[in-house]
Chain length 476, copies 2
Amino acid sequence: MTEAVERLTKKSEDSSKWYLQLVRMAKLADYGPVRGTFAIRPYGFAIWERIQQDLDARFKATGHQNAYFPLLIPESYLMKEAEHVEGFAPECAWVTVGGDDELEERLAIRPTSESIICDFYRKWIHSYRDLPVLINQWCNVLRWEMVTRPFLRTAEFLWQEGHTVHATAEEAREEALRMLNVYRDCFYEVLAIPVLTGMKSPSERFAGAVETFTCEGLMGDGRALQAATSHDLGQNFARAFDITFLDENQERVHPYQTSWGFSTRTIGALILVHGDDRGLRLPPKLAPTQVVIVPIWRGKSKGEVRREAEALHRELVEAGLRVEADLDEEHSPGWKFNEHELRGVPVRVELGPKDIEKGQAVFVRRDTGEKEFVERRVAARRLIELMDEIQSNMLRQAEAFRDENTRRAETYEEFREIIEEKRGFVVAPWDGTEETEQKIKEETKATIRLLPFEREEGKDLISGRPGKTAIFARAY
Amino acid sequence: MTEAVERLTKKSEDSSKWYLQLVRMAKLADYGPVRGTFAIRPYGFAIWERIQQDLDARFKATGHQNAYFPLLIPESYLMKEAEHVEGFAPECAWVTVGGDDELEERLAIRPTSESIICDFYRKWIHSYRDLPVLINQWCNVLRWEMVTRPFLRTAEFLWQEGHTVHATAEEAREEALRMLNVYRDCFYEVLAIPVLTGMKSPSERFAGAVETFTCEGLMGDGRALQAATSHDLGQNFARAFDITFLDENQERVHPYQTSWGFSTRTIGALILVHGDDRGLRLPPKLAPTQVVIVPIWRGKSKGEVRREAEALHRELVEAGLRVEADLDEEHSPGWKFNEHELRGVPVRVELGPKDIEKGQAVFVRRDTGEKEFVERRVAARRLIELMDEIQSNMLRQAEAFRDENTRRAETYEEFREIIEEKRGFVVAPWDGTEETEQKIKEETKATIRLLPFEREEGKDLISGRPGKTAIFARAY
Ligand SMILES: [Zn+2]
Ligand SMILES: [Zn+2]
């Protein structure tokens, strides 16, 4: 906290500038020397660790095990699945020298691991008894991106990638949907982001998938963000990598696969969905610090206030809360209020000589700004309640925002107006052709974010042909 | 378990062949397409996850936070610290192409992260109030090795690397020793490996360090393994990377740094220290499966035995044990005994119709082979006790082995005989010159594994000059 105080740009004034400034000022991340690479600083990483813990427990509860696969993928492996190589080869970083030697074949740093994992699966899978294979890995991946922005689009990022193998198409489809729902639950329950779920249009599918399912969030500036995806790979990779098994009838057949990923990009979503003009707002389940105690002291009261703040700190830690007591004497309470609001701490507890006299403390909620006078002896109990209340309220706020910004368009003109003036999600029928999808994209910069699982029939706004519901938005 | 049954080579016959076979048969790891790269399979990774959890909690309890730094390091950064580049540049893998473009400067995949982390620290550290910086990262690193062996020496491996910055030399030294002790505690308490701790001789120091502390384990074949190291970097990196801070007297000075690392190599140590002719022996704290229930069934008893095995399984899971019930009908009990012994499961529970009749179960310990008849109603309680007993006993066994294989040499001839015929640790005075160190290495293949913290005075066996205790061994 020794860095110069700086004023945060208003989110409403310049959302992009606000974002970059906030990432830096809240010490979430910092730029690396290589274009598009970033360090995730301890405050940002502590958020990621909590997301990891939550997801990892959900993966294990659904029968998955973790493993680790090599970082380096020979070019020839990437080439085996035609669509896959087309999608990923142009954005790979290539190792061409090892030690002092030029390599005979260049090696990609994994942009995603289907190709190398399939090579292992080919060796590990022989019989229907070896299935299903339910493996996940937590790792770094790298995609050589031209335009980058911390968390949202970075060359290197952290993620988990699940890779499963099944005996039947139905099982693989179920798995892809199961993991989509695991992601959705984590977004709702932990990140407090009410994502929409559905299918991608064919043009937006993962390179090599037969179906891509997606979680789409609506950011505070009305743009959508693809937050996590789950792919039904069918037999595409099994054929390309020659994975086979002997089924119960002793016939050699190709299995069906899925893959699914959730990355540090979601920290960007967290900032964009919940942040406001004062800075971050972190859901209590992810906040590295849930409660900050700020003593309000003057001259001779200092000793007593410090002792009380320390006692309260101990009590709250024992109650299982993640608490900080900001006992720094260099800065004023007002300076500290701003600092902890910027960092998104869910509740600030103010404690002054008068509060101590009255046996109370003042709680200020970051989600609503509400002030509350609480009896000192029930402080811990009330804070634990508040964590739940704030967590639910942040989800409700985000749901209300999403619903207010989800609009039906009856005509193409209306569609363009909404996208141009209000942004948000636009619900409209789509005739299923790439032609209209492409036209909309060129003319409005909106893309199909997803095709809902329940789709109504209607007329495509451009072609007039019969269509079914699609959800459009301008996206990150 | 559908893979062909294969006989494990005896450890005593060919330790190296035994090791490679065991890694494969126990499904711990598998070779990748690029030389020296490996997949860590779920059974191996589950061991690593438990080590991670344990260490991570110890790091946090000593005030450290996790973060993440970029994978790619520009060559010019590696070059800044002269010894560091000399040590690591020859074994880097280099990225020279990104997307479609040749890069202007080639990028190393991190072999270790001092150089890139120092660049961030330079930006983050301004004042004594910013110190200490206590950061750790869990990540992959890559060193282009010529000879590789799963876990023990691999091109890519997983580790944690701590990187701390302090205002004074004393604080940095204390930190380096604190983390050495954290490692030692984890080895003793969790891996059941009684490592020796001490300092490296100057020639074996980490490239760029002023002092390297080490944990050295003695493997089952009498060779030593450097299991984890902690470095006092002094101001070497701070000078090279121009990290400075304003101290309390408002003077701009260089801080002092440490770094310390613990890698997946320790899984190799775990195999080599505890494994035997039957396979792995895993300490209960790390075993993915602590107890396996093997039903002994015949024709008409099958239904009842299965039900009892399932009931016991549920009961043990509820008691907090990691349990498997091997209800497979394809294989005989004998086949299963071998399989689970190979996998190192600490206790096997046999349950047959007679046991059920008598209200008992048979426990077989993997560490001693001892059989024990236990009343069915106290099975869970007894197993929980046994986990502790086995954990302690494995440490005691390893300590006894280490002590039996630690010998004092009074003459150089004796030294050579021990190294040649018995291996193990050899304790002898060393005059502190690189000359005798080098001679011993050339003539006996033994190296100085460490200089103990308490060193006795004596005469160097080769030069006859005054020396102090050093511990030698042939090493992995
Ligand atoms: Zn085929
Ligand atoms: Zn200097």
